[in-house]
């Protein structure tokens, strides 16, 4: 029963942090190249454009939910399992979500990178 709690906690954390990343990436893609925009219209235009995106706010909210659910998950399970599992599964989940929702071309090179990084993070954070 404890395992079920721990893993559902981990999955909730992963779900919301992937959602936050995807929404913020989507907002920034819509804003366009920040450097170019800054050169053309100045810093405050960039800030205004970012802040006027609903997906930016939803993304930040999803990240906040992910943070607080991480705190909950940590109280349900061991730190040595929850922290590395949540961190490394987020990388894999993001690769899937970026392919589906952002239509990024996730080729074999990127899949290998995502898996290597996920394994490395699991080892380092554990």
């Amino acid at each position: 029963m404890k395992h079920l709690y721990t893993w559902s906690g981990i999955l909730i954390v992963v779900f919301f942090s992937v959602m936050g990343d995807i929404l913020i990436a989507r907002a920034m893609k819509k804003v366009g190249d920040v450097h170019e925009l800054w050169d053309r219209c100045g810093l405050w235009t960039v800030v205004g454009k970012v802040l006027s995106r609903t997906s930016f706010f939803l993304g930040v909210m999803a990240m906040a939910v992910a943070f607080f659910s991480l705190l909950f998950a940590l109280s349900w399970g061991d730190v040595s399992l929850v922290a590395p599992a949540a961190a490394s599964l987020t990388f894999i989940g993001n690769a899937f979500a970026a392919k589906i929702f952002l239509h990024e071309k996730v080729d074999r090179r990127r899949w290998i990178a995502a898996l290597l990084v996920a394994a490395g993070v699991a080892l380092l954070a554990g």
Binding site: D21, I22, I24, A25, R26, M28, K29, K30, V31, G32, D33, V34, H35, V50, F91, N94, A95, A98, K99, L102, H103, E104, K105, V106, D107, R109, R110, I112, A113, A114, L115, L116, V117, A119, G120, V121, A122, L123, L124, A125, G126
Partner: protein, 135 residues
């Protein structure tokens, strides 16, 4: 830095909200929050011109950097497994850095990036491709 500062201020509870303000006034916590904000700003800047699957592996270099700082500045021991983790992350980042940064802008157009700039970018790519074919 955040953890250093929070350890200095001691535990914070809901019943002692002035503890939160005290924590914010701690220079370590304040600098930590500022650095986190700076990280987030540069992360969003990177996302504006590169793919999420390109940027995210690169941010994981932070874990490697953290481990190296812990080793050389704080003189912590790094186990063999952690060294293996460092090697895996570096390898993964090297893998993704070898490819192109953005796939969704030009050839594989994302339905979310629908402003007029992308249209011209796509036609440029098309003309470049046809030029290459003629040569």
């Amino acid at each position: 830095m955040l953890s250093h500062g929070m350890k200095q201020t001691g535990s914070v509870s809901l019943h002692h909200l002035q503890g939160v303000i005290l924590a914010l006034l701690n220079p370590w916590v304040a600098v930590g929050i500022l650095l986190l904000l700076a990280f987030f700003a540069s992360y969003m800047n990177a996302l504006s011109w590169a793919d999420l699957t390109y940027v995210l592996p690169a941010t994981s270099l932070g874990y490697v950097l953290l481990a190296l700082v812990a080793k050389f500045a704080l003189h912590e021991q790094i186990s063999l497994l952690r060294w293996l983790g460092i090697v895996l992350i570096s390898g993964g980042v090297g893998f993704v850095a070898g490819g192109e940064a953005s796939t969704s802008h030009a050839r594989h157009q994302s339905p979310f990036a629908e402003d007029e700039k992308d249209g011209t970018a796509e036609s440029e790519v098309a003309s470049a491709a046809s030029g290459g074919a003629q040569r």
